[in-house]
Symmetry: C2
Subunit: 176 residues, 2 copies
Amino acid sequence: MASAQSVAVARQRAAAALDVAGIALTEAERAQIEVADFGLDRLDETGLQLVVYVNTERCCAKELVLFAGQTCPEHYHPPFDGTPGKEETFRVRHGIVYLYVPGEPTAEPVARPYRSEHYTVWHEIMLGPGEQHTIPPMTKHWFHSPDGAVVSEFSTQSRDEYDVFTDPEIVRVPTG
Amino acid sequence: MASAQSVAVARQRAAAALDVAGIALTEAERAQIEVADFGLDRLDETGLQLVVYVNTERCCAKELVLFAGQTCPEHYHPPFDGTPGKEETFRVRHGIVYLYVPGEPTAEPVARPYRSEHYTVWHEIMLGPGEQHTIPPMTKHWFHSPDGAVVSEFSTQSRDEYDVFTDPEIVRVPTG
């Protein structure tokens, strides 16, 4: 697990990235930016920073920050509580994101994630500012940004504890 | 109903406001910005410009643009198709918005909308950049911006045709 110090640094860095992207946060939001290292303790490679704006039983919206070189590892959202599971739309606000979904594997994918042997979907979609993609429930996906990016996520209820990761070493609890 | 020319002008003006707010749109989105005058043909006073990013059976996200002096008139979202009706969160991205909801009427509200006799909820909430408010279904609300604003709306499915407006003259069909 990342140290308290590295979490604090990542939080500050994410706040700065959101500033650069022109996204306003309250002071309380800034102080509570979630830092996820997915239990691998290599935040620079496998990690994600999040600001959760709203998450009710019916819908959810977040801002996601990827630092240069970071990957959010492969996972899917299963059904829970009688719902079909989380449906989500990623909309890039700033930077470039490579999203990987089921389909024809891309011959030379941009991303080469840490522990890439635990990644199974390799159909690459490049998304720039103003571009978006919707992921249905039960669909494996992962994403990477070579130079850093800010992404808005619009979705149904988010229950991270139910996410299923392909890599058995991964644990989805907030690092900080 | 607003003329085709005034709709085209409003669309360009909304695109410019989104640019200033640092919000990236694709060319296709820019060309399809929705302009609503709510059937009153006084777009400068009663109007709203919208970009719908996603609207599935389960969730919806939009960007809303208010020009200086515009008001989105009082309405609520009733149940439909076995759902409780639309739940929405407004998050201000740029500018200042005055949101009006049920509660103690504000003594000196900032907004003085056209046909204000058809407005019944006057509890004022000021929202600046990074501030947000969630409106449950069946809750009357309206909003106004004195100097112009951009607002993200995160919600359950949007079905504008079911919206119930307090002012009997209002028709919620896109003007353009």
